[in-house]
Assembly symmetry: C2
Homo-oligomer: 447 residues x 2
């Protein structure tokens, strides 16, 4: 990293030459972080203006949406057009997506008609689709091209570095195969691309889920994944760096949902306390009101509680163990579904495995706890009731925990919803019911 | 995907030519999946032997460890040596790591001394380090090389595709800068590499955490990240495909830990019920016994419970809400720490934010629940006690939930331990204590 104060000092001194020297060779990610750390909007714009043209677009693409919008507002039409034209198409689309409507109009008015069309096409794909994260910029070759022509094509294209290393062989926009830059570099100059290409190409459709596309790219160790439209014409590629971002975002989203938080793209500190509260209250309310079902089950056993108040002392242990067992199973199944290790059709296999696991686990827990209770209270009947309730609770929890995420996937809902909080609430009611039924059956509870 | 039965049929017919034609152009990932689906070990080996030599090593590297070991056992020394020499060095090291000791000796005896040294060096890096996931195979150039010489070097190297696109300019093994294959392709043939290279290079040490290395690669959109040893000499690169695998594995590991499951590298179905049980019992036992603390707090209030058994009915709601609030905060902080959005030094900022959030959230929950209880039971005192307890529980849970993960990171433990299960258990005791204290203070509980 480098010194913000030094930059601001150079800016103060209007030392344009020193600034240019300073920027050369620095990478865009760090410069964007530096810009972001400049508090004053006017100063931020002034620093941005000192960037060399080729670097400016790159840096801009790494800035968060709100900063992009603020900068854009301070630019004259000419500046805005230069910047917009220098952005890669996918970054240009991302930029527009974050912009208020009046600025979108201003930006698109200054853009060339071709560019406007290309960006609009990108913006038309539904969010969460492969189309929405692809870039239409890729190297396309004809099957009859020679290696020399192919290398010339690569040299001429001014696009992303990572997108030139896989070239796509197209015939009337249909994808015939791929050739890597390495294949081209190591082949004879007059060989035909047709003879070098790999025909077994992994591809996705524009409407494929973006996470599925990213996982496919990861599975096959690709640098880019071709995207085809409804008529099997190649319209773009998803690059590996964007795929990593997709996987990271989807993981964060899943983790939030699994903790009963409405997902938010903003980093932790970027969201205000109000926003955080808004994303957490709804699920807490739903879960809180669901928990009252467990409460009303308990009220049915008030007599038993009055007779043996000690019964209540084991409730937290039973409920917590049930919740923990359920969320263990739910988490493993949710992850298995996300990684495609578990398919919905595997439901019987999963249930069988979880049932076997719950027998082993519950036996161990019941033995440990039964022994502890017997030693502490010298009451075999209570020890037995607790142990039996524990076994039934663990089995119930593991089954509920493994079935609900699969059911959610089957119903085209996000399996992550069926995680710890909801499972715990559901399992609590079952644990309480099992426990008090066992207690009233086996213990002398008349007052 | 393609037909397993067809392959087995061709094998039966000893139709080697048809098999070879069949394999050509198929990708290694799918062939590995096909091999893995062949149940019979002898048949598996027979199918593997029909693969063309160049493809065989690639396919082998995509097979799971146990399958690799089984195949290796069925090979003669000569076969084993051919295979081992054809593997990329990082794949060779991964292969050895999964092998029983007697097979390791056999493999290393057949390998060339140079290869043995290189693989041993890789195996000596601690697991979880950047050194353990890097490959020592990369393209190195001298600063005085011309572009023509550099392109020749690329052509000569027979290594991974993704590793030739960034070339490293070294002087006595010190890293001076990087040049991309694209820079070389677009530059004049007699230009010097020194004048093209980027000197501002992102790198890590061999002992850097592998997840930190992968996140760095993702942050800077790199295809490979150079790894330096303790004396700042470049010893390898972490490639983007390995970085994605690292991030996926680390996420799975975090999710397991957050659900109180000891992490296991095996996919869900690959682990037996016993293994699953073993990975879940320890934490369940610890948490179960911790929950008895909450139980013993409850026994202190047996008189209150006998007097007003209805009190018990609100326990599940209070405990669940506390657990949910705590795990919301804990999950967001754990993810923030993993993504470097939150640093341990931010602890005061986090506490302030969570405190503000908990005031808003608890006010809403207490209002909703107080009203419900008042309407249901027409008892203002109970409604007030519950609402006050709820406010205090939410505040306590959010603070415990946000502080513990940061404390864990500070103590060099994995913050993921401080997730829902442990937080719930801790918060339960607090919730019960707060609730019964409020009840005994505000309600007429004498029998």
């Amino acid at each position: 990293m480098f010194n913000k104060d030094l930059i601001l000092q150079l800016l103060e001194n209007r030392d344009g030459r020193a600034l240019l020297t300073f920027w050369r060779g620095r990478n865009a990610v760090d410069i964007a972080a530096l810009l972001e750390s400049v508090d004053d909007a006017a100063r931020q714009a002034a620093v941005f203006r000192t960037l060399p043209k080729d670097l400016a677009a790159d840096v801009f693409s790494y800035l968060p949406g709100p900063t992009q919008a603020r900068l854009a507002r301070s630019f004259a039409d000419g500046e805005l057009q230069l910047l917009f034209d220098a952005l890669h198409l996918d970054d240009a689309a991302d930029f527009l997506e974050e912009l208020p409507a009046n600025l979108v109009t201003r930006v698109l008015q200054t853009a060339s008609p071709q560019r406007r069309m290309a960006v609009n096409a990108l913006l038309s794909y539904p969010s969460g689709s492969a189309g929405s994260v692809m870039t239409p910029e890729f190297v396309s070759l004809r099957p009859e091209d020679t290696v020399r022509q192919a290398l010339d094509t690569i040299r001429r294209t001014g696009i992303h570095k990572e997108t030139i290393y896989t070239c796509y062989v197209l015939d009337c926009r249909r994808l015939l195969g791929t050739v890597s830059a390495k294949d081209l570099l190591t082949a004879a100059e007059d060989a035909a691309v047709r003879d070098l290409m790999t025909a077994d190409v992994i591809s996705v459709g524009t409407l494929t889920d973006r996470e599925a596309a990213a996982r496919l790219l990861a599975k096959y160790d690709l640098l880019a994944l071709p995207v085809l439209d409804g008529e099997a014409r190649m319209v773009g590629i998803v690059t590996v760096d964007d795929a990593i971002d997709v996987l990271t975002e989807e993981t964060t989203e899943d983790l939030s949902i699994m903790a009963a938080v409405t997902p938010d793209e903003k980093p932790y500190f970027a969201a205000s306390a109000w926003e955080h509260a808004r994303h957490r209250i709804l699920w807490l309310l739903i879960l809180m009101l669901s928990a009252t079902i467990t409460g009303s089950i308990i009220t049915r056993y008030e007599d038993a509680i009055s007779a043996v108040p000690l019964l209540v002392a084991f409730l937290p242990m039973l409920m917590d163990t049930g919740g923990n067992c359920g969320s263990q199973s739910a988490t493993l199944v949710i992850r298995g579904l996300a990684l495609d290790e578990i398919q919905p059709r595997d439901v019987i296999r999963v249930v069988r495995k979880e049932f076997a696991v719950s027998l082993i686990v519950s036996a161990a827990l019941a033995a440990a706890n039964g022994l502890r209770i017997f030693l502490q209270y010298h009451d075999a009947a209570i020890a037995l009731v607790i142990s039996l309730s524990l076994v039934a609770t663990v089995i119930l929890s593991k089954l509920v925990g493994c079935v609900l995420p699969i059911a959610a996937r089957q119903l085209r809902m996000d399996p992550a919803i069926m995680a710890s909080p909801l499972i715990t609430t559901i399992v609590d009611a079952g644990a309480v019911l099992i426990y008090f039924q066992a207690a009233t059956a086996f213990l002398p509870l008349s007052v």
